[in-house]
Amino acid sequence: MSLELSDEQKQLKDQVSRLLDEKATPDVLRKLITAGTGIDRDLWAQVAGLGLLGAAIPEEYGGVGLGEKDLCVIAEEMGRTVAPIPFFSSICLAAEALKLAGTAAQKAAWLPRLASGEAIGTFAWNEGPGAADAAGVTVKFAGGKVSGVKSPVADAEIADVAVVVCAGPKLVLVPLAQAGVRIEHMTGFDQLRNHAKVSFDSAAGEAMEGADAHETLRRLYDRAAIYAAFEQVGAAESAMLMARDYTMGRYTFGRQLASYQAVKHRLADILVMVELARSNALYAAQVLEADGPDLAAAAATARIGATRAYEIAARENLQLHGGIGFTWEANCHFHYRRARLLALNLGSAEVWESKLIDALTTANTPAAA
């Protein structure tokens, strides 16, 4: 088995890349921050039209029926361009949760709509400060009604449906356009992916399948961590190349800024982090597609490396731009903020480091051959 992309996957990557380079330009991102809507509807429709939302959704549910690695390829391009669409919430979390734990009726009702982009889904687990933790959930589900408060919930203001983690844990599917749901915008550090506080007051919901929701949550977050790792790797590489290009074009003391070792060595270190992170992400994608036994360790490994690579690349990119990097018109701020979002949205480095050590000590996880 190869860690490389297949020829078809390379073509897919090119196709997504061309679309996003044309549509998710820095000017589009700046306008969206000002508008505050958190989604470029035109881009969303085009991405849906190319079948990218349904890439890893089975054909019987209106998808294209490709594998998880194809989804990874798309996620990488989304990360590279900081694409202003709810791809991660709707596809990498909500649709994946439905695939793992939806009843046949729920899948039939929602997956085709998520695949076509007609509906947007999201996932609600966190309840204020602290890591997402099944034992700490207070939102209740009883008699078909959900009550309690979730925050932050990504893309809640534009979502039609949420998979809500309720006490137990239980996974509950809740349509958001109903009287018992109140959505309040939160002032977020990342200005391109909106988040909200979602209060449920006896909102109607439907239990999802799965006797052991603990296991479903673990699997869902391991899978999401791998998609996110690709998003982070694509973004980290983009930030690295942005810094490279800027320092090559700028002259100081009579020579290119990029010719100073102080600059080159910082970028070389980032290149190392990006390449190792990409290698771990590719390995995790292979394990995911093969449904291998070391998914937990592979996912945590991919996430930790990718988080570190993106955080450092995004930060150093801004610093290497000097004062111009601090301006609205330079494009460093998109990655500078997005890196923080992706570092925390599925749990901090500390959470995943601990998960990794647990996975390595509790299971007999084979190392990558």
Binding site: T247, A258, G305
Partner: protein, 400 residues
């Protein structure tokens, strides 16, 4: 990977399972034992056609593909087989360079005894005034009919005291820019005028030497490549050295899994060291690096097989520093007592050795800073620093 490659991998695995166990290479083995064991293991591999898979049987191979040779190396990497530096220099650095820059006759003449475990090598590159700036070397080679006469001093010549052959860089023309005046030779280390003086290292061992060359004669038949083409040969050697160093660094590493086991068994404050979030974070980061190197290595193998030039310099850069940090951690985890070895702590000598040796590995075969330059320039396409040395060698400050 094709089905044939997978089948070959299984075959190599089976052969290694039978034969490799008798050739473990512990750290405490004496240098003479290690040389003997390395050559014996090399002979065994040559007889089985695994010494150079992509060569014909008389060269210890089986006419296989480059991908098969990589598979063979990868599988052997899972074992601690003996490979003393002199054999590594010969197989991993001298032979590929002679193959690329020398004549077919030269290749066969030097490759055969090396692949069959009859000859060991050393590298006479660095000098007291030429380390990272290797092209500043001053050892002279002057033509004398069909021979060359060599005078100069080399340093850091690992295992020169056990070597039969050396790859040698010498200046044949001091009147041109420094990179253009260098020529590459193979030197018979038993030649008159070669004097090897061991250097005592901080490890207490003497793996490397100063080598003095006084009126040493090398036949022109041992010149590899054209006169003045030595720098291109040196670049080939260094690329192979860095690739090989990362492999040996990986096999020297006890592995993060073993460190996790150790931390889980080390009492600390009523619990164990592994309870500490700081300890977990460090181990997790090293695990991520270790897996990253393995997975990157797999991608490198595939890229090399496609004829690409992946940034292999990063493998040595990462693994040497990691070896240093992880062995420091193995001392830290036992607090003050971690600095002492004895009969109750047999593993400590190995930890001390690796921590000391890792410092040399961050310098040898390209210091960290040189590797970072290379990554920035070759992989990212960033410009070199402006240079002061684009003048004839004999007009350089410090030379003239």
């Amino acid at each position: 990977m094709s089905a044939e490659d997978d089948a070959f991998r299984s075959e190599v695995r089976a052969w290694l399972a039978t034969h490799a166990a008798g050739f473990r290479a512990p750290v405490e083995r004496s240098n003479e034992d290690l040389v003997a064991a390395s050559l014996a293991w090399q002979r065994l591999k040559a007889e089985a056609g695994y010494a150079a898979v992509d060569e014909p049987p008389e060269m210890g191979g089986r006419n296989g593909t480059r991908a098969m040779a990589m598979i063979c190396a990868q599988e052997e990497g899972r074992y601690f087989t003996p490979m003393y530096t002199g054999l590594g220099i010969g197989r991993g650095m001298a032979l590929p360079t002679i193959k690329k820059h020398g004549t077919p006759e030269q290749y066969v003449r030097f490759a055969k005894p090396t692949l069959w475990g009859e000859k060991g090598w050393c590298q006479l590159f660095s000098e007291p005034s030429a380390g990272s700036d290797l092209a500043g070397l001053r050892t002279k080679a002057v033509r004398d009919g069909d021979n060359w006469v060599i005078n100069g001093q080399k340093v850091w010549s690992s295992w020169a005291h056990h070597a039969d052959y050396a790859i040698l860089l010498a200046r044949t023309d001091p009147s041109v820019v420094k990179h253009a005046g260098i020529t590459f030779f193979v030197l018979d280390m038993k030649s008159p005028g070669v004097e090897v003086r061991p250097i005592r290292q901080i490890s207490g061992k003497s793996d490397f030497n100063e080598t003095f060359l006084t009126d040493v004669v090398i036949p022109d038949a041992n010149r590899i490549g054209a006169e003045g083409e030595g720098w291109a040969c040196a670049m080939t050697v260094l690329a192979h050295e860095r690739n090989g160093a990362s492999g040996s660094l990986r096999s020297a590493d006890a592995g993060v899994r073993g460190m996790i086991v150790k931390a889980a068994a080390t009492p600390r404050g009523g619990g164990v060291a592994l309870d500490s979030a700081a300890v977990r974070a460090k181990l997790a980061q090293w695990w991520v690096e270790e897996q990253g190197l393995r997975n990157f290595g797999q991608r490198v193998t595939a890229a090399l097989a496609r004829g690409e030039t992946p940034p292999v310099a990063m493998m040595k850069l990462v693994s040497a520093s990691k070896l240093q940090m992880t062995n420091a951690f193995l001392m830290d985890v036992d607090e003050y007592d971690g600095l002492f070895s004895g009969p109750d702590q047999p593993e400590r000598d190995g930890i001390f050795y690796q921590y000391v040796w890792s410092s040399a590995m961050r310098i040898a075969g390209g210091a960290d800073e040189i590797l970072r330059n290379q990554l920035a320039e070759r992989a990212l396409g960033m410009p070199a620093e402006p240079r002061m040395d684009k003048v004839p060698f004999n007009e350089l400050p410090g030379v003239k």
